[in-house]
Point group: D3
Chain length 259, copies 6
Amino acid sequence: MSESSGSSEPAPAVAASGATGPLLVVSAHAGDFVWRAGGALALTAAAGHRAKVVCLSFGERGESAAAWREGRSLAEIKALRRDEAERAAGELGAEIEFFDAGDYPLIETPELTDRLVRVHREVEPAVVLTHTLADPYNGDHPAAARMALQARILAQAVGYDAPGDPLGAPPVFLFEPHQPEQCDFKPDTLLDISPVFDRKRKAMECLRAQQHMWDYYTDLARRRGVQLKRNAGPNLGLHHSCMAEAYVRLYPQTTAVLA
Amino acid sequence: MSESSGSSEPAPAVAASGATGPLLVVSAHAGDFVWRAGGALALTAAAGHRAKVVCLSFGERGESAAAWREGRSLAEIKALRRDEAERAAGELGAEIEFFDAGDYPLIETPELTDRLVRVHREVEPAVVLTHTLADPYNGDHPAAARMALQARILAQAVGYDAPGDPLGAPPVFLFEPHQPEQCDFKPDTLLDISPVFDRKRKAMECLRAQQHMWDYYTDLARRRGVQLKRNAGPNLGLHHSCMAEAYVRLYPQTTAVLA
Amino acid sequence: MSESSGSSEPAPAVAASGATGPLLVVSAHAGDFVWRAGGALALTAAAGHRAKVVCLSFGERGESAAAWREGRSLAEIKALRRDEAERAAGELGAEIEFFDAGDYPLIETPELTDRLVRVHREVEPAVVLTHTLADPYNGDHPAAARMALQARILAQAVGYDAPGDPLGAPPVFLFEPHQPEQCDFKPDTLLDISPVFDRKRKAMECLRAQQHMWDYYTDLARRRGVQLKRNAGPNLGLHHSCMAEAYVRLYPQTTAVLA
Amino acid sequence: MSESSGSSEPAPAVAASGATGPLLVVSAHAGDFVWRAGGALALTAAAGHRAKVVCLSFGERGESAAAWREGRSLAEIKALRRDEAERAAGELGAEIEFFDAGDYPLIETPELTDRLVRVHREVEPAVVLTHTLADPYNGDHPAAARMALQARILAQAVGYDAPGDPLGAPPVFLFEPHQPEQCDFKPDTLLDISPVFDRKRKAMECLRAQQHMWDYYTDLARRRGVQLKRNAGPNLGLHHSCMAEAYVRLYPQTTAVLA
Amino acid sequence: MSESSGSSEPAPAVAASGATGPLLVVSAHAGDFVWRAGGALALTAAAGHRAKVVCLSFGERGESAAAWREGRSLAEIKALRRDEAERAAGELGAEIEFFDAGDYPLIETPELTDRLVRVHREVEPAVVLTHTLADPYNGDHPAAARMALQARILAQAVGYDAPGDPLGAPPVFLFEPHQPEQCDFKPDTLLDISPVFDRKRKAMECLRAQQHMWDYYTDLARRRGVQLKRNAGPNLGLHHSCMAEAYVRLYPQTTAVLA
Amino acid sequence: MSESSGSSEPAPAVAASGATGPLLVVSAHAGDFVWRAGGALALTAAAGHRAKVVCLSFGERGESAAAWREGRSLAEIKALRRDEAERAAGELGAEIEFFDAGDYPLIETPELTDRLVRVHREVEPAVVLTHTLADPYNGDHPAAARMALQARILAQAVGYDAPGDPLGAPPVFLFEPHQPEQCDFKPDTLLDISPVFDRKRKAMECLRAQQHMWDYYTDLARRRGVQLKRNAGPNLGLHHSCMAEAYVRLYPQTTAVLA
């Protein structure tokens, strides 16, 4: 999966993994979508589907300690974070949109939720990803999740006054927070991101201020990969060194086959 | 979907739904596998895979009130229940084996668990189904579940002294109890059993003493079908009048695609 | 229980069931009070007590898909929903008041909560009914519940600046949502509504746009009735074909007898 | 309510509280039924119903530290505990039966459960009381509860081979453990035992070795009484200085009225 | 521990108990800090550390029933409560600051949270205490807790625009509500307040309108003290008659020794 | 902390961390005590206290896959595992005792529990460590935990017939399972094992068949160390590169200081 392995090999693998349609990721800060959902985004893009990220803020106050300590201005920090996030999205093959709603605290408003409804109507996601509803270390994460979930519901109503058709019922998955047990994050879905892990790593490397995270989240992917193999049914053909992302499914899975 | 509707049409539908391999159902009493997992069994059989049921008891004491009131003997009741269950299994295309371990109470023993280990090793299930771990109305159900889950783990150990190869890690789903909320049963998987519901209905009709249950579980399938449609992603092509069974997944799902 | 059974017969039955005083139902949308609490309202009214419904919205955006698809205007839809709800309340013997606060989303405000305090002070309910605090399918329901519960607490304070005496401590019951398991709704109270089920059915039939719900909630009442009989103590004289509504009690029951 | 207050006054009060039939209390050790369910027993007896206690053990090893420190023999301690418990039961108006199954540990066996089935069939309780299912300080308590709950279920089966008719579905309440929060004991039922508290106090005073508990459980009754008043609906006529016992209901309440 | 026992004896005991630094208590109403955290405040002050209380409101509407019934004006009640609280803080050796944000309801705002951030930055607490996140009897308590927890997180961000240095990660403990089980309060920390209980009692006695609470919270301290002794490891030298306060720790404890 | 750092430096650090007395670890299989509690054992031993491990089995069937695949006999495997475990215990400074009770399944018996009672009475532990009560991947772990917890309670009773004095109330901590989220393991205690991590690493390296685990549990210690630093209060002097073990406390902490 290294750069030298060529682009021709992973493509069929990804096609085989079969993404089902557009993916929408709602993220409190720039950066979250890379660490927590970069694999899902890259898989979706590689399968030829639209992969869209909404960053509600740049994480300019709460997630940019180094820049503040260097004496940067607020405008500089926001520009820096935007630039990094755009390049990371590019590596993943994803679009990115910034709401610039401010962070620490990210304050829930009907206006932000309405903007998210419009995005849902426009993207018509097959799957939605967002934060956990509990996070005792970061109040912005649950605030983003509450708005994302509310927006998805509102977008389903034909009577909601926004452009586009009413949304269907795309499944929602909550992505992994930094301290999973403290956020009541009990993974029930392990996504094999092996075919695209090199792209996730490159996206991580775009976030230059958080270099210590690159290895942290590479290790996490490896551990989740070990769990995936331990939990996998015997019929699933898995890569030897599997990399994975963990998720929690919010609504019942609907399926034509138990597996 | 009835027999007269022709076999050519449902077959592709079932094939399309793609069962992944042998199915093992561990049931406390005869009857449970029909009401709670009949659709999964029929889907598996229709897809050409082995579908095996283990009944730990006949439900001769706890689930045969009418027969006792008619003055039947224990031996008669067990024979009656066995006969009904065998015919129901036949309708579903499933094998059935009776452990005759007694019910009310079904008492956990290392010997029963060992017999279940041997079944796991022999069947090599791709999926295992059993009861919920809580049921304040019926202590036999959790007892069966505890033995089934323990047996599956033991069967995985190369050092366990029983014939056959160590088992892989087949996913486990808990099937729906009679009073779901009281058993902490929060469905996270809704299985579309529309293509085989007529077979499940016929299997139910083999259980002649529990005629009031036929409509009860037909209605339940319809309601779970309504939920399936409400929760389904927009890309899933669903039958107009969908029938479903509800399950709870015990281990994380491993997947190559979020959907 | 049909119309021809005459009004003289149910009245004593209801009197025997002994409602204890005024009932207040706080509902997010028109319709909810019928499907979820119609039996409790009719029982209360039949026992000669005041039965009052507050609808925070008409459900004009989120629960009126058919009307929007027919091209109706917002004003038309609100008028239609109001008319239907008023006729349904009439069938149940209940008063109804609309706050017209808007739905999808219903937004919590101190002003709405204050209006609910004033209703509590004026009605002096013996029992309060409202939505569950979790509903992943509809954010308006928990929003209504939070305001109702907050208002009941505020109404108890002598220092709260609103007309009337401080409220006592009426018990609160949460009524059944559409997908109970997904809303963490574990019923701990099953109310026998057999004596008034015909009235509830007539009230349901006032909601003409949601005809498919009539049978759905009739079936639900029958199922909850089956559970009621299964859970009933041996000394409770129950109707043969029992109809019931399920509730969750929010505060401890205070009683002079265990039963 | 003391003996000198005359028997004419409390009788109506108790009659007004209306017990509904025989009460069965399954207790791990002698003593538990007094501290935790003495009020319910006395209320039942005062209302003219049978009140029966089964003590699975005397608490001879785990709850008799003082006697062991005094150098008593096992036989002496058992005789002492039996005598105290019999006199306490007498004060409450209750029958008592000892299974002498040993404590610390109380070991679950099919034979003990069968004996409990036979008691259920013979007593035909309208209500069953037992321990919580969790108690990190005392393994005998959950063991007793598991056997009591299993026995109640088995007694319901017509096919269970024991004298008497199949049991109905008496409600079960779990009584209050010594450290409620640590046992996940969240009371949902507060029973007014004011009319019989003096009898409970006298019964407590029969347990001479545990004198420090007399005031502890008097204080607890007073605190639960304060909670009862705080949670009581406005229409309930309550004694000024209310005494109460707390319980957790295991199965849904079935009722003809919300209150 | 009475006044006559002299000041020389308790001081070393307190020093031995070793408070670790400044303590910050965020309280919805005047009074809460005395009943629920008075011991922790007094211990901290006695050890020579700063003990600071923020009262978001005076509890003028929701917790001053007697004063309202006496016909006092809002201004009078606020002055009375302020005076009582200041004297109670004085007995404990604590500073107190009132935000006068209004109660019943206490409404969450970004401005109040910002003021709390500034307090955190200024006090640099080693420990933070506040209310539980659930309280079905009082919506102000969770509102205060949410703002306190949010403020502590915001104060940690170097990018948050407020004077002072970024906060470290002081542990947070939730103090005991009035009806612990109903607030999902399962104590995991029992604090020995024996050396300072006399100061807490004196502080309680400053709250003259709530005289019935003095004994209630003295009894509670005694009961929690009994639990402390029952749960204490064998090596902990404990006072004979131990008084304690119960807390729930919100973040993992970090330690160099298991004990 | 490497061997070359000399023994004079770590000793004071460990003394400063202050273990409080003997430590008892109850482990289902040989190996568990190394991966999950090796740091706590080494800290205790380094502080001059007794550190004792009971292995209920050798893990000969369930945790020795490689040896079985090499065709070793049962006796050989047990001898191998015993030897490895003894050497690992030696590295940690711990005693080890094997009950040889068999694994996969480890079957709970009164006799095993009685043996554990006798160990508790003999060791008089200041702290007890054992497995989690839930583990869907390994039934032996909860079985060991249930027996350990039961034994600790029995050992407290003066009336329990075993040599030695009644046990006090040593705190219990559950150590970290392999898949924490799936075992409902939410750490509430992070133990700094930096001063002894080199000893834990050497002990791990004694377990030669499980070489892939050495790095896995080194990484885990590093991650838990990062969490320790993130959760630590500002006054705690922490090593730069901190290593930690995670635990869940079973009973309330009793303390003279909040920190």
